[in-house]
Symmetry: C2
Subunit: 126 residues, 2 copies
DNA sequence: TTATTATTTAAGCAAATTCTTAAATAAATT
DNA sequence: AATTTATTTAAGAATTTGCTTAAATAATAA
């Protein structure tokens, strides 16, 4: 960011700006963590995967690929991102690997599932 | 997606898979809408902007640029995305344009602000 | 031990994201 | 009318994302 091209508003409130800077600085970690979770959930395929895991308890890459109509490597790569973000966990059972939601970030995710199901109810009420 | 490279599990439950497909199909619009909001909020800069608008009521690009320490065009382009997504709205006042949160999607956003403030309280409790 | 099944990994590519810089609007001031 | 101020827009570059295809693991079955 260059110094010029900057507007120095006369009406700007330096106290407000300073307070805002403090608020941002005080929550830097939270913004980083939360935006991480949100950007993972903000992909339509991954949001569907999370919703399905909530509904079904656990699912394997093979079934997810079947349900979502996309290739297994594509699904697997989404699952890895979610796992890297500590949003889901894997449990092996023979050759099959079952993925499920981790408790850790469920509080952030639950409202999303509620939103989806609420929209569905509204639709059915018509 | 190619037909081969597909695993046809013997233990796969065709009824479960069919039900899952139905659930996804029934909520296609909701997934699209919600993932849109989440991907907008999933950028750290935009999440900060949304948080600041919630805290302050309204802010202009100039002040946001100052608070966040980034160029005005960069901020302006984030604001446009948020406006295109109906998450914020603009109100002109002379040369200054004030942005604020729209009521429409506040229900989805509110938990994020609560999360940030809760983390902050936890930190202060130490 | 060889083949099959379920999954992951890696390389490559097209598209999307996010910044920078420079130029264009648009309102207020001189 | 010309200048300043606040903001947007556009073009370009670096990075990230999300798929495809092919090859690599890893467990089970023949």
């Amino acid at each position: 960011m260059k110094g010029n091209n900057v507007c120095i508003r006369e009406q700007a409130d330096p106290v407000q700006i300073s307070n805002c800077r403090d608020k941002i600085a005080a929550n830097e970690r939270s913004f980083s963590q939360l935006s991480g979770i949100l950007s993972l959930s903000g992909n339509e395929v991954r949001l569907k995967i999370l919703y399905l895991l909530e509904e079904e308890g656990r699912l394997c890459p093979c079934d997810l690929s079947d349900i979502l109509g996309m290739s297994i490597p594509a699904v697997s790569q989404h699952l890895r991102k979610l796992k890297d973000g500590s949003i889901i966990e894997a449990a092996r059972e023979g050759q099959t690997i079952y993925y499920s939601l981790k408790e850790e970030h469920l509080k952030v995710l639950k409202p999303f599932f509620k939103y989806i199901n609420l929209q569905n109810l509204k639709k059915q009420a018509l």
